[in-house]
Assembly symmetry: C2
Homo-oligomer: 384 residues x 2
């Protein structure tokens, strides 16, 4: 196990009706920016619950943070924060609204061009305190320090991390997910599953607890992902999906272990160039990447096959093949196709995607830094 430092300061309020309990967690007298997305919170009752909990506070609303939140949109909110002296941001929505709000919080405390934060030309030294009411279990951003932002004018999707943007609290009420379209639930389960894999499926470092926790979360998603589609208003089903997605990326299972975020990095370019849903890109890239890297990931692929899928073959090559095909089958079962062709993307995309990764200096990725441009090309060809 590697040495590590772990600190997750986000308070979780979990369960039905918890939105009403956020009021005492807000700093008294705050000027609050309430951020949200396309307005679905006005149809499902979440907006009313939040407004009620904010009674007595000075609240400014900022709507319209889109899926794969845009740098351009967020910078408009940054102006409002600066002009109005906002001192707390409450994000109400899914991962995109929370990610956008984290970027707003950081960029509002930076005098230069906010894009510098994403190109990592500046380090975040301060941010407006923020919190969130999560409406979509998926990204884990509700209790981590990361954020992903897209600049549409240059087709760049980049991320930043800072301890200053951990939400101070996150409200997770499973009932607010009941009205989500099946596609968003499916995407969320796939996203969370891949987050776990990227912290787990590398090489063994004798990190027993992290491995068992990762496997436990994968088993939970395999069980409750399909149930979430079949029984959209079953409280316990949605509760387990939601808590698993949060635990998948709050930092805990990733302490002291190697990580491989290549699937996310390659996937980001697929979204930036072709507009695919984030989870769709992961479902395309991951199975092909696991096949390509099966030698480097051999020991963990075997462990994954045995402990998560209960495979018992003597033939280890067959066991690895089945572990990968079970992974693909789970994504397909969730209704997320796993081939580029399923989304109408042709072979000419391969070189464009590789060129985009090269432009963003992401050409030695994976836990060994051995996923070069050529390896990415091979992965993408296998995913056509």
């Amino acid at each position: 196990m590697f040495n590590f430092s772990f600190h997750n300061p986000t308070r979780i309020l979990f369960g039905e009706g918890q939105i009403a309990n956020l009021t005492p967690l807000l700093p008294k007298g705050s000027k609050i920016l309430l951020t949200y997305g396309g307005g679905s919170i006005k149809q499902n009752g979440v907006y009313e619950q939040v407004i009620k909990a904010l009674a007595g506070f000075d609240v400014t609303e900022f709507a319209g943070i889109e899926p794969n939140p845009a740098y351009e949109t967020c910078m408009k909110a940054v102006e409002i924060v600066k002009q109005q002296g906002i001192d707390f941001i409450l994000a109400v929505g899914g991962g995109s609204v929370v990610d956008g709000s984290k970027f707003i919080a950081a960029a509002a405390c930076y005098d230069g061009d906010g894009w510098d934060i994403l190109t990592r030309q500046t380090k975040v030294k301060k941010a407006i305190p923020l919190a969130c009411v999560l409406t979509l279990p998926a990204t884990g951003t509700e209790s981590n320090s990361g954020s992903v932002i897209t600049r549409y004018s240059t087709k760049q999707k980049l991320s930043f991390m800072s301890p200053h943007v951990y939400p101070q609290f996150a409200v997770l009420d499973p009932t607010v997910t009941y009205s989500l379209p099946p596609r968003q639930i499916a995407n969320g389960a796939v996203d969370a599953y891949v987050h776990i894999i990227e912290q787990y499926l590398t090489y063994p470092v004798q990190a027993a607890v992290q491995d068992r926790f990762a496997e436990g979360l994968l088993l939970t998603l395999l069980e409750y992902g399909p149930k979430s589609l079949a029984h959209p208003t079953n409280y316990d089903v949605r509760a387990n999906l939601m808590w698993a997605a949060t635990m998948a990326l709050n930092g805990l299972i990733g302490v002291g272990v190697p990580q491989d975020w290549a699937t996310h990095m390659i996937g980001h370019e697929l979204t930036a160039l072709y507009g695919l849903d984030h989870a769709q890109t992961l479902a395309i890239v991951l199975p092909a990447l696991l096949q390509q890297q099966r030698t480097q990931k051999r020991d963990k692929l075997l462990q994954y096959g045995r402990r998560v899928f209960g495979l018992e073959h003597q033939d280890e090559e067959r066991l690895i093949d089945e572990a990968i095909s079970h992974t693909r089958a789970f994504f397909e079962q969730m209704g997320v196709p796993t081939r580029m062709a399923d989304y109408g993307i042709q072979a000419d995309a391969v070189d464009k995607l590789v060129a985009q990764l090269e432009k963003n200096h992401l050409v030695k990725i994976g836990e060994h830094g051995d996923i070069t441009a050529d390896v990415v090309r091979a992965i993408l060809k296998a995913a056509l």
Copy 2:
């Protein structure tokens, strides 16, 4: 799953050499009380590392916090804190030193008799900030809000919990455990195992993640507990034991689920009256308690047997019997006997222990509140 609120603010510094990295985590200019136990830290190099990390700070030492820390000892430290204007406590030791230091931190901010905190006649409103360097993986106190204190004059062992006594940081360096006597390692593994069981083995509430995490920690202790005795200087073995013990009682696996702390409560009386090691009392009580409560705990006993011990019998009664006997066998394998007779305690102890529980108003315990004085009597008779 039940609603819950979860917030664990303790920063973990994990790994070899991490004591040297605590310096920047101390508030500048602090007047520090350095608390420790019987002085073993002066033999194994921990004391020197800590003193080096504290260079430049105003440090007062308070040694002699004993196993099952005494109220009387802690109150001496409270006087020092008040007289010298101490504003930070650094506890260096095992669970007893940390528990004692938490009580010191709280009692030093309370004007009345510190014992009121343990009898819960007052609520902790404030505490001196504290942190710890853990030398013994066992209790989980390094990143939770609990503390257990013994008043020897009245033979009372009582606990309190307060968010004000979470350590600000905890340094976990597995190498500092190499020199521990086998009995302490064994006790620590048993204590951690029982902590997990008490949050897991109640009745099902469809808390999939919590169950999987608990099972993962139990599997880790079953594997690494015996290895910790056999290979005392194997880094990865001790690292897994240490991290499992912390995760066992940092609150995470207990969110949203029923809990049953009856084994600890009954065990505390065994320590208070007969001076047994804390873990010895748990090893005595738990197997007898599981047998006694097998009807109420039936579903989870079956799940425990299947998932943790891989039992597959059709006969469910036999499966439950084996799950319990495997639990007993693990404690025995760790060198911790599981019968009162093994410690020379006779049948006359039963009524004395029940009377002590009644005196402390602990007579309707367990997840259903159905472990009455009569049920405790039956458990203790079965544990003779």
